[in-house]
Every structure is written in C-alpha cells, then in structure tokens.
Amino acid sequence: MTAMDRLRAARPAPLPAVADREALFDRIVATPADGAGARPARSRRKLVLVAAVGLAVVLSAGTAYAVATDLFGWHTDNVFVKDPRVWRGLYRDATQELRLPPGMAWPYRTLPPHTITNRTEPGGMAVGIAQTAWECYWTEAIRANDRTAERDAHSALTDLVRHHIVVAPPGSPENVAPPAGTQAPFEIYASDGGISYVKHNYALAAAGDPSGVAQSCRANRGDLQIPPVR
C-alpha cells in the first residue's frame, strides 16, 4: 500500500446526511440574491460603459476628492492600531455603548501578536459579539416561549442593525471606513446582500421561527458564554 493509498483509506467517514436540506434551501432562496437577479453579461457591459463615462465626466470636473470625501464620505482608513493596550481600550469603549443579554459579561478580547488593524475593528468586534449574543438569546427565548425575552432581543437587534451596522459601498477595499461622524461603535458589512439575509432572519424570528437566528448563533458564537433565558 502506498502512502497515498493509506491516506485515502484513512479518510474519516462522511457525516450523516445534513438534516432539513429542503427547509434550508427554501430559507436561503427566500432571501434576496445579488447574483441571482443579475442582468445578462451584455447588459452589464453596457451599464459598466455608461458608468465609466459618467465617472470620467465627474472626475474631469475636478471633483474626485469632494466626491470621495464629502458626498459619499466613505474613505480608506490608514491609521492602524499595533498596540494591544490601545486595541483593548477601544474595545472597552465600544462595550460601554452596547448592551448584552441579561447576566452576560463581555468576553476578554485583545489584538493577537504580530497583528495590526484599523481603529474601527475593536468596535466592530464588540458589535459582532453583541449581535451574536442577542441572536443566541433570541433563539432560546423563542424555544422557551418567553415573550418578554423575545421582545428584548428583537429590540436590541433592531437597535444594532439601525445604529451600529453600516454597509460599505460596492467594491470597497478591506480598510474602508464610513463617513466621519458615523456613530461608533459600528460593524462594517460588505455590500453583498449579507445585511438583507440578517434582516430576513430577524423577520423570521419575530414571526416565531428561530431557524435563521439559531443558525447564525451556532456559526458565530465560538467561545461566547450565553446565559440561559430566565
């Protein structure tokens, strides 16, 4: 037996069939899809051409800077955090602005060694933690039929989506930052329909179906210690 034969023979057994495939399929296709509704390539090319001409006109008018910074306001952020103490300070500040489910404490987080990031990332992480925590809490509340806890989770997540999640313009680079004055902390979503999926899951949960928030909770909770619904 060759080494490769032995490697192949040592492949772990497949998982049992994924449960509720059709329900998952239905849930996914019920959400908006950027690509699913895409125009044919020829139309897209025309659109790109028109957009390119339009952009050239704008740029030739000498307003590129104003467009980039004043009109849309999104810009690249080249101020980096290298010091874990600074990172933790920003994270701590963010946690003061956010709310967690009853009885839950903020987990310890810091900047990993040999890492740099921009100044908005600690706040974004805090928002992500709060979001996941409330999604898990909402899942439990629905399963426990605790209406008060359900309303609390719904309210907290609505507030997060409205005030602490911003969607970057299409094609933005990794280090994009929103307009100055955006209320911190915030988490930046790519313009790929992700926020629509999140809202769809919350609408399902508000209607008593926890499947979407439960999936997000399972995928994102990691080491978070979510207290039980009381």
């Binding site: 490769m4 032995r6 994924v18 399929f25 690509g35 987990p107």
Partner: protein, 176 residues
C-alpha cells in the same frame, strides 16, 4: 431573441445544482476540524446564493471549498480567542485539528506545513482533480502540481519515519 442565445436560467434552478454540493461541503468542514460543519455548509450555501453570479456554473465545488475554507479560518480564529489563560497556552501557528482514522496518518498530516497538507487532502479526501484543487487554493495548476509533489514526498517521508514499511512514493490523481 438571437437563436444562439440561451434564455437566462432560473436562479433557483441554478442554485439547486450548487446546493447539491451541501453534503460534500459539510464533510469537508468536518474533516478540517470544524466544531459545527453543518453551520459552515449552510453559511457557505447562503453566500453562494447571494453571489450566485460569481459561482462557476459548470463546476462550483472549488468556489464552495474556498468559501467554506474562509469560514473555517474565521471559526478557528474565534476559537483561539479564548480566555487570557487559554491564550497564554495557545500556539497561533498550531495545526488545525485534522483527524483521520489512522493515528500514524494523523501524525504525518499534522507534521506537514498547512498548505502542503491542504493540497494533499483536497485531492486524497475531497476527490478534487488537480485543476479543481488549484482553483480552490487560488493558485495556477502548474504551481499546484509542484506543491502536491512536494507534499506527497513529505507525507510519505513522515509516514515512513513513523514506522510504515518503505513504500513506493506514487500518487495517482485523476487527470483534468
């Protein structure tokens, strides 16, 4: 309509073909040590639906594995961000928890650099062709073949050192 043009395919019908790979993606996540492979597979499919125009219609598997792999890496980053005490013990460069049914194979896999191990496993466990595996890793097919050659040699050496009788170092892969 130009008779040479096909009418645009119904997105749901197209996604149905992508979704058919749900189980292999879940298996892939499980074999790479995910704590919740079904959630990784479900999230991969949700992303595929949102970005359906970017998913290759003829062969979505490499794209799906790239996406699942990114989600796995995010999961592993979250897992390593544990309490301060845990972090003191954690090694950021530690190998992902790849497990096989053969302890010697597991040890030999863990001794490999991560990118060599992934090249090997995409072919041996996920049954990708070298061209598909190259696409999944975002490298040229020629570069993948070089990496695979190096990986299988290292793997064979590592396995031999673990007590396996000397075996021919031969790799048969499906042609592209």
């Amino acid at each position: 309509m130009n008779p040479d043009q096909h009418p645009p395919e119904d997105p749901e019908a197209r996604f149905r073909r992508v979704f058919a790979h749900l189980q292999p993606v879940a298996d892939y996540a499980a074999r790479r040590g995910s704590s919740d492979p079904e959630a990784i597979a479900a999230e991969t499919m949700a992303i595929a639906w949102r970005r359906l125009d970017r998913v290759p219609a003829d062969d979505p598997r490499p794209w799906l594995f790239v996406t699942a792999r990114n989600l796995l890496m995010a999961e592993q980053r979250r897992t390593t961000r544990r309490s301060q005490a845990d972090r003191a013990l954690a090694r950021p460069e530690a190998a992902p928890a790849v497990e096989s049914t053969d302890p010697a194979v597991t040890r030999a896999l863990r001794a490999l650099p991560e990118r060599d191990r992934e090249a090997l496993l995409l072919v041996a466990w996920e049954d990708l062709t070298p061209a598909q595996a190259a696409a999944a890793l975002g490298i040229a097919p020629v570069a993948f073949r070089v990496r695979l050659l190096r990986a299988r040699r290292r793997f064979a050496r590592s396995l031999s050192a673990d007590g396996l009788p000397n075996t021919p170092d031969v790799l048969e892969v499906k042609s592209t």
